[in-house]
Symmetry: C2
Subunit: 352 residues, 2 copies
DNA sequence: CTGAAAGCGCTTACAG
DNA sequence: CTGAAAGCGCTTACAG
């Protein structure tokens, strides 16, 4: 039996019809507590221009006290701009893009934006579907990888008129925002390093064959043509997904066909690690008999035997910079740079 | 000059004040085209019960013809349920969680749900912040990793009353939904394998020291105590992030201190790969002098010299199953299983 | 610098 | 089985 009580039972709450309140603290509650109108409260909390200092403080205090959290759905509906940023990357299984994403999130989250991460699997059709689906969410901005997409995909990006930053590549186009580095120059630098080490039969082993791999290949070609050592037969390309196992397989196949090869430029570190492991298994001395290089400086490359020469690509910097630029664009700032080249770094280790 | 025309110039559109239309095709447009009310159109498109077959077809046809895409913000505001599912994982740098996520997305996206991916970095405070931020988005459901979180975090999950599925572990609790396997049993199985191979001084090398690593350790302890071979000095633990380089470092340190160790159970494959590479570097024969095992069967483990014995964890299956269960919960289905054990598989390779 | 009115595009509850 | 009214919680114009 409940303890006795002389107090009258609490009055039943007034029956309001058509009430659907979710019980959450709304802007109206904050406004009432602060003694201002909801519009003013809205402007104060968004730090919109034209609200008196004192009012801003009062509203913010009321919001804090009530534990007010703005409703993103209501905000998106009213303003036709959400706090979502759609971020499209080819794969999450490549550590490169994970590092990129983490950096993006580390800038966007504290600024109040959520990332909608889309994985395209290097498939133009998948990318279109994702773009279409994410556009329906009225994202505030867009981050996409590179410039290589279907025409429909490009049109979706352009016609949305959304702030958009392209990552991983550079571009000379004036109407585009991008952060990256010249994949072709980096490919050239790796090849030149091998040439300078005196290698004469330098092969290029590429998988996936996405736009950036082909740009690195272009740098390789340019360098070897200039050096008078280009041989198309040494371009060893496979469209399958890049992996350690595939690197090992391609290493063996290439050497079986071209035993005179004395250097291999693997287009990615996972392939390079696989090549190094295959050499170890076959008892082929690296770098004495054959030099091996990779690309991207992925985890484990420095632990290989011998450690893998590679190109360190500043993807964390790219992600942070892209997010910062996007923030600027979304806020309508005028001085956002168009084309940021963050460079790359050749890391020479024991394998070459 | 335009072609002559006797028709009067088109009347200027009526000037409506306060118009803010975004120009997008709305439910009202579809309803008008189909000759029904917006409510009926809404119900027809959502396949809500109680709409005549013929009307559903007519509405759907109109929607298709107009290219109607429902506005998620409006829908979320009106129904207080979005099409977002918040998915919290510790890291994206561990391939395990990437495979999990991909599987989740492959089920959720076709069903019309978007994932909000949150990375907690094994940090209870970060997890709370993410939870709080994502809850504001009124997600339709939640997928979280394991059961080990702060009390505030657990409370956020519970008090949200949102459909929630826990992944990677199993639980006997009746009020919880989870998909995973027994980390402790798997740890026990690895250790038993080493015991059966005749190893006597079996060390456990663990990093990160999250809940699941500790459960594997518990399985290791149980097995060795039963075998009468447990020695606490051979539990080699380090709170740093798991990596190939750390595995190599811990391998060397452990052997320097305990030269009589004849087997090492690394709690994750990246550590195990590092250990294997260190052994190679030091000229320590594996498995003759020392057996090495890992956990999770990550990329490259089968390419090591010798290939790494490990436990294959069905994370793709876990992700797909968790997403399917969540779909059931979000749709209010009654027969969703509570505790799904997908098992694991010991993969014996050359390193043991 | 502040606010009353209207609207964003849906769905919920209430009727019939 | 279908619909007219109201409401979800914000922000955008328009005034003053």
């Amino acid at each position: 039996m409940p303890s006795e009580s002389s107090a009258p039972p609490p009055a039943a709450p007034p029956v309001e019809k058509r009430r659907r309140s979710s019980g959450r603290v709304t802007l109206a509650d904050v406004a009432k507590a602060a003694g201002v109108s909801p519009i003013t409260a809205s402007r104060a909390l968004r730090r919109d221009r034209g609200v008196a200092e004192a009012l801003v403080a009062k509203v913010q205090a009321a919001a804090d006290a009530l534990g007010y959290v703005p409703d993103p759905a209501a905000r998106a509906l009213a303003s036709s701009r959400s706090t979502h940023v759609a971020v499209l990357v080819p794969l999450l299984t490549n550590r490169l893009f994970v590092d990129l994403l983490e950096a993006v999130q580390s800038v966007l989250l504290p600024a109040g934006y959520q990332s909608l991460i889309g994985v395209t699997h290097y498939d133009a059709h998948e990318e279109e579907l994702l773009l279409r689906s994410y556009m329906a969410h009225r994202p505030a901005g867009l981050i996409v990888t590179g410039f290589d997409r279907s025409e429909a995909g490009s049109r979706l990006v352009a016609s949305s008129r959304l702030p958009c930053v392209h990552v991983m590549e550079t571009s000379a186009q004036p109407d585009v925002f991008c952060v990256g580095f010249s994949q072709e120059d980096a490919g050239h630098a790796v090849t030149r390093h091998l040439v300078e080490r005196g290698r004469r039969r330098i092969a290029f082993v590429g998988a996936q064959l996405d736009a950036r791999v082909m740009q690195r290949l272009e740098g390789y070609r340019r360098c070897l043509r200039d050096a008078g050592r280009h041989d198309a037969a040494l371009e060893w390309l496979d469209p399958r997904r890049s992996s350690i196992a595939l690197g090992a397989e391609m290493f063996e196949a290439l050497l079986a066909r071209h035993p005179d090869v004395d250097a291999i430029f693997f287009c990615n570190d996972d392939l390079g690690q696989g090549g190094l492991l295959a050499a170890l298994r076959l008892g082929i001395p690296v770098p004495e008999r054959i030099a091996v290089t990779g690309f991207n400086d992925l985890e484990g490359s420095d632990q290989m035997l011998p450690p893998l020469t590679t190109v360190r690509t500043p993807r964390a910097q790219i992600g942070a910079q892209a997010a910062t630029m996007l923030l600027g664009l979304m806020r309508g700032e005028a001085d956002v740079p168009h084309n940021v080249d963050v460079g790359y770094e050749l890391v020479v280790r024991g394998s070459s």
